[in-house]
Structures are given as C-alpha cells and as structure tokens.
Symmetry: C2
Subunit: 480 residues, 2 copies
C-alpha cells in the first residue's frame, strides 16, 4: 500500500452494511466501542433492496387477497386480477427506490462511521478500502473485524447462461413489468415465493425443480401443500426436471430452457433460484490464511475458527449457519456483545443459550415462507432430529380440523407437526403450513428456544377460536 494512504483506527471494523453488519456495529457502539462499516453497494444490504423487503411487499397483496377471497360477504370483484402496477409502485417504496439515504442517516444517528468502497483484508486487523479514488483508505481494528458481506445468487455452470440474461433474486424482486411466461428454476424458498408472486401478478409460471419436491429442507408436507396451491393457482410445477441448457437467440426474444430429457421450455424470462454463494471471493481472505470464496466457519460466538487471536468474526450469510436476515441480526447482536466483552477482558458467556452464544443457529432457526399457504418452521424437522441422534416422535395435526382455522377461511388447508424429544419431553422443532401461520410461528420459537417442557405447554392455553388452537390438538394427539 502506498505511503499516502489514509489510515484510521477503530475498535471494530465491519465489512458489509446489510442488517447484519449494521447490528454488529450498533451493538459495538452501544458497548462504548468505536465502529466503522464499509459498503460497496447500498447501505441496507440485500434484504432491504433485493430480498425480504421487496419480495414481501409483492407477496403480501397476494395473501391478503387470497384470504379475503375465502370469506363470505366480501364483494366478488375481489376475484379480479391484482393490479400489478400498483404493487410494483408499493414494492418500489418498500425498497426505498433503491436509495440508501435513510439507512445512511441511521448509521450517523448511531455514531457509526461509513466508508464506501470495496474492502479487503490486508493481514490481521487491517482492512484496505478501494474507494475508486487514487488513494486507498486503510482501516485498522483495535479489537475486531467482522465480515458481514452476505451472499449472492449462485448460478449453475450452464453453457450460454450469461448471454441469456437470466433473472436472479435481484431481478425477480425489482422487475417492473410482468413477463407473460416466467420459468423459475429451483424449488427452495426463493423459487416458491417468486413463483407465487409472479403467477399472481399475471405471469404463467413454470417451476422447474431438480429434486422430487418443493422446499426440500422442510417437512415433506410443506412442499406438497405449496405445490398443490401453486398448481391450483395456474402454475406448472415440474419436479425431477434438470436444466441442461439455456439460450436466448434474440436479445429481445424469448428464452429457451432445455431439460435433461431433451424437452425445451420457452419463456419470456427465466429466474434461477438455485442457491447462494458467499461474497468472500475478493475480500483478501488469503492475507489471513483463509480461502477466497469459501464460507467462513465460526464458533458459537461467531469467531472465525481458523484464524487465531480472537479478532476475526463472520456473521450472517457468510458463515453459512442460517441464511436468513433475522438469524444474521441475531448473530450480530451476539457478536457485538462478545467483541465488547473480550475488549474489556470480561468473561465470555459462551455456554449454550448464554448471552454470547448463537445457540439458536443450530437449535431454533425460524423461517416463514410467504407463499399461499404460508409455511412456518422452527428448529429441526423429524428427519433432521433423528439424523442428529435424538429419540423423537413426530406429532401431526390437520389444521382444517381446528375451529379457528375453519373460521379464518372457507376450505382452510394446512397441517402442523411438532417434533418431540422423547428423552427430555421438550420440542425440537415445529412446522405449520396454512394461512396466517406466519405469526403463529413465534409461539413455537419460544417453546423450542425456551425448552419449555411439554407438561408446562399444557398450561399455555390457546385462545378460542384461533388457529393457535392447533397447539391444543397437537398436545392432545401426543398424549394419545
């Protein structure tokens, strides 16, 4: 680095100003440490502009209308198509029109410095920011560097894919017109949410899934119910469909997707929702002995285990523990606190469920899929719990048999499962599928993370008649 570089020292240097990075910096500041955050794109990160916020702004009208269609007395014009332009305008507002002034203002109010540019590690505790000017800026960290650079869409290595200009989650959450035909590749959360949104906005959606079903990391019935609903909404779901090629012969023409059997599918746009890759390929990881482009393995305090000296942390998607905004923020709160504790020589409370351990990352990760029906899960699936060596029983209940669900919507369809640890008589995981279960999930998160014994859950009375009464039914079913 040239001698003319500006050098600034901070207690904590954070790479990446998404929700995770913001929360690490905020918790460091709240503990009296100085903090700087480096961002090469928009302050606010993927979640604010190309993920949670715009996608939920597009999906909420879909579920609100679907719910209203399922009750009597509502004017039948509710059955008419959604107004896509109105939804795009709404979505653009929730994405702050892809401007980060509000977030920058928040950083200022929190006393967090912002450096715009591309950050690379340059040995321990040292970060060089290439801001596009002649002079690099050097940031040194008295206590810690936290890598919170997140992830990007991972595209498969298909010939001609780049030339075909596929959508990733970014285009799928920011496009401003409705493609008449949309092919979606991938049956995970992004795939099913975007298939739901665009089908409702007016596209004819074809969802291409390599495996045998949707949402493969969740309980099997979740993907089954979502597949059924997508099909009824008019989408085509193709399981066991491997994409072998994509081409767009004319720049403004349609795209042709080839499946492994040779079949071709023609669409106006194609979304690849085929997983995520860590944004660690150009971070100077090699200067501290780590491999560029790798996920960063951390312990429960989010310290990068392969680097000695308690100074390098990785939070959020980059550590691969749970690629979810709320889980990144959770890790960030813990990381900010543990950096501060180590800085002042205080004891680290790293025992399970301690103040400095992100125990929920392995035991109680919640997730809501904002499809219609919604899917909400926390903790382990029955299969994952068995694989982890627990002695379990999966207790299922059909949500349509719950009075509160029948009142919520005519023809309510849904299902619930709780996974009981038979040795400890606590819950290891819960999954709900159905309308309105997104807000019901937190009851399960409290039960799982709180390790509330089943005997005590009997005293948590669900209000009648709500969907929540499924809790009583699950407990009764377990008792037998």
């Amino acid at each position: 680095m040239a001698g003319t570089d500006e050098t600034h020292e901070y207690d904590v240097v954070v790479l990446g100003a998404g929700p995770t990075g913001e929360n690490v910096a905020d918790r460091a500041r709240a503990n009296g440490l100085s903090a700087v955050i480096v961002e090469s794109e928009l302050v606010g990160g993927e979640c604010s502009y190309w993920a949670c916020m715009p996608s939920k702004a597009m999906l909420r009208p879909v579920t609100a209308r679907a719910d209203a269609r399922r009750v009597p007395g509502v004017p039948r014009a509710i059955d008419e198509p959604l107004d896509a332009a109105a939804i795009f305008a709404h979505r653009d507002g929730f994405a702050s029109h892809w401007k980060d002034d509000g977030q920058v203002q928040w950083l200022e109010s929190a006393g967090i410095d912002l450096v715009r540019g591309h950050a690379r590690l340059d040995g321990p505790r040292r970060v060089v920011v290439d801001g596009g000017t002649d002079r690099a800026r050097v940031l040194t960290a008295r206590h810690a560097v936290a890598v919170c650079t997140g992830s990007r869409a991972k595209l498969p290595g298909l010939p001609g894919l780049a030339e075909a200009r596929p959508w990733t989650s970014r285009e799928a959450t920011s496009a401003g017109s409705v493609p008449p035909r949309l092919a979606v590749v991938g049956g995970g959360v992004v795939g099913v949410e975007m298939a739901t949104a665009w089908q409702a906005l007016g596209s004819r959606v074809t969802l291409l899934v390599r495996g045998g079903g949707l949402l493969p990391k969740m309980e099997p019935f979740a993907g089954e119910l979502v597949e059924q609903a997508l099909t009824e909404a008019g989408a085509t779901v193709r399981t066991g469909a491997s994409v072998t090629g994509v081409r767009r012969p004319e720049p403004d023409g349609p795209v042709t997707i080839t499946l492994d059997g040779g079949e071709e599918i023609v669409a106006d746009e194609v979304l690849f929702a085929t997983g995520r890759a860590p944004r660690t390929d150009d971070l100077g990881l090699e200067t501290v002995g780590l491999e560029p482009g790798s996920w960063l393995e951390v312990d429960d305090t989010c310290r990068v285990t392969a680097v000695s000296g308690d100074w390098l942390y990785a939070c959020g998607d980059v550590n691969a523990r749970a690629l979810l905004t709320h889980q990144g923020k959770y890790q960030a709160r813990i990381t900010g606190a543990v950096i501060a504790a180590r800085a002042r020589g205080a004891a680290v409370q790293g025992e399970p469920w301690g103040a400095h351990a992100a125990t929920a990352d392995t035991a109680a990760v919640p997730q809501v899929v904002f499809t219609d029906p919604e899917v909400a899960s926390v903790g382990l699936t029955a299969e994952a719990a068995e694989r982890a060596g627990h002695r379990v029983r999966a207790v299922d209940y059909d949500l349509s048999s719950v009075a509160g669900a029948a009142l919520y919507a005519d023809g309510y369809r849904g299902r619930a499962r709780m996974v009981v640890d038979l040795d400890r008589e606590v819950l290891l995981g819960v999954t709900f599928v159905g309308a309105a279960v997104g807000e019901l999930l937190h009851s399960a998160s409290v039960a799982v993370a709180g390790e509330v014994p089943i005997d005590r859950l009997w005293h948590a009375v669900p209000a009648y008649p709500t969907v929540s009464e499924v809790w009583l039914r699950l407990l009764e079913t377990y008792r037998g």
Copy 2:
C-alpha cells in the same frame, strides 16, 4: 322424589354440555370413568350457538376485508359494502343452524351418556333431572359432580327493559337482518365485538359506555385504539354514558334509550352487553349448603371450596375465574384428570403449574378480541401486576415501527406492551393491539405460562419480516 324415579349411578355427573362440560366428561372417560352429562338446551353450549362460533363467523369477513383494503393492487371494489345476507348464511352454518346433532354424535362416540332436562342437586352426589315427563330421573355420582352450567347475559334493573325486548349476546349473534340503527350498551368484549360486526354489516352503531373507555379490564391503549377504529368506521362511541331507561312504545317501532343527563337516543334495536350472571339460580345449590345464583368459588383443582368431601367441582364461567371458552376447557381437562386421580387414590399434583392445578387461570389467561384492530392479551396488565405487589416495568412499542407490520398493511396501527417482573426477569403479561396479532398472542402465552426468562427470550428469534418482530423491539426497548 317419588319412588318410581329411575336412578342411575355414574362415576361422574356433569351439569351442562357446553365445551367445558364436554371436556370434563371426556377426560373422565379417557381415565376409565363412566360419565353422564345433563343439558337443558343445546348440546354444545353458549359458545357453539350464541357466542364464539357465530360471533367470529360474523367478524372474520370484517377483518379479512379490512386487511385486504389496506394493501395495494387489490381490486378497489373491495371498498364496497359487505354482503350481510351471505355473512348471515355463513354464520348460521357455523352455529350448526342451532341444531346439536353433531355434538350429540360426538358424545356418543366418546362414550358419554346424555340426559336432556333440567338438573338440580339433591344433596351430596345426587342429581335430579326434570325432563318434562312425569317421572324425574335421578343420577348419583360415585366420585364427582361437576357444575358446568356457564353464564347468561346480565341485564340491569331498568324500568321497562323487558318490554323493550333488548338484544343480549344471543340475539346479537343470531339476528338475521340488519337494524338500521343499533345501540350497544357496554364497552367490554361483547360490546366492542358486536359494535364492530354490526357497523360493518350496515347498522349505524352507537356504543354507550358508562366508564371512561372501552375494554376497561385490559391495558388502556387497547380500548383507545379500538375506540378510534370504531369511530373511523362510522360508529359513535359515547363514554361516561349511563343508561337510566329504555322503552319501545310501539311493538314494531324503535326503541328509545334515556341517558342519565336526560338525553334520549333512538335506535331500532338495543343490545345490552353489560356483563354475565352465573347459571346457578335453579340448580339445587341450597341442598348442599350453597347459595342459589352465586358464583361458585373453587380451588386450583376446581373443587368447590365450601363443600366438603372432594365431590363437587365447578368449571367454566360458573366459577368466575375467567369467563372464556378456552379457559373453561382448560379447567375441564384439569378437573377430569383430578377427579380420576382422586378416584383411584393417586396423588394430586396441585402445586402451581402441576398437572392438577389450573394455575393459568390466575397467571396466564389469554384473550383475543376480534375487532379491527384485534386486541390480544395474556396474563396481568401493568396495573394489575402492581396491585398484586409485583415490582414491574411496562415496556411499550409502537407496532407501526415494525417492518413486518408495515408490510402487513398500509398505515398499520398497533401497540404492544410487555409487563416485566423485575425481581424474576420473566414476563407477567403481554398485550398486543393491531391487525393479525390474534395468532401472535400464543407466543406470549408460552412465554408467560412457561416463565421463560428474558435472557432466554433473546434466543427466540422472530422471523423477518413478520409482525412478530415486535418481540425483538420489546426486548431491545427493555434493555435500553
């Protein structure tokens, strides 16, 4: 009693076939005891025909439409009035057209005998049923009699009231046409729910409340937000309005309500939602030393404390612990279990939160008010907690500042409060007001009944972006 009376002996005799009585009998049966249930009206009780079920069937279209109106892209015809006839037909279905065949069938399938008629105690363990025939039927209880006769609407002693044919909750939940003008007397749960329903169905509602605000047993902001919403919906809310007289001069004409200042209000119907009275006035209570018409005081196992011998129980509204269907069912499960335990000489687990103690009745009663916005609360209000001698802090948060709430509805309005026990660092109560909080409540019920420490609640991560994230905000606000 005449010597020709039929006498039958059962392990358990239950008076009243509402959800509470059904559950006592069911739990007794499940524990191997024989059970009979006596009902003078419809099997299924108030809840099934004149309370929860029909009222929620009338209210769900109101909130579903209100929610859909608050998102973009939904056809604007959603703003047109609700179709009252369609809603009445739907409601009638949920009230099983006021026929109890389905419930009778359930009793049969559960092996519970049913006796139709009016039951009166005739000394310890003895019940005489007057079935309208010459011969009374006598039921003797080997182990227990459970009084589950519920409550009825309590009307004030106003001159001319009976002649004016006021509505009670029964008429308000079963009427089949919309009165152009409806006066509602009482600002409790029944009053605000029925004011919300009928205003949305097309009545011009005037809500007359003696006190200073609505929902006086809940946190003050609950009533304030509901009052604001009712007013915006077009209803008139009059607080500090004491009704001194009611008259309906012409049988088919309007009703005139006089207030204590002399002012007169004219309406087509008037609903009195002015509290409940126990249905214990004609139960033969005097034959076991109890006062007819009184609420029946019970211990945590629901045993009537004033009667010796462990044979008389009272569950549900009659014991005045918590006049809510779900709480009656909770008591019933516990009562059925404790009757069985005592019958077989097993130990009674009556310690707080034990299997035979209805501890939630005092510590964790949940309630959802199905207005728009919904009100959901569990446990103690801040005021009640202080009155009970706890050292507490009330932590408030404005729900409109939660991203998931803003996404749920444009202009979302709501508020949350958690009441922290500062000595034990657990929650004593939680109240949410806002759209979709009805299903969020159970998270608070698990936290309160589970006595989950605040330190652990930090590990129960709310999914982003849901309304549930208010939990994170509350915890952050508490931490300061």
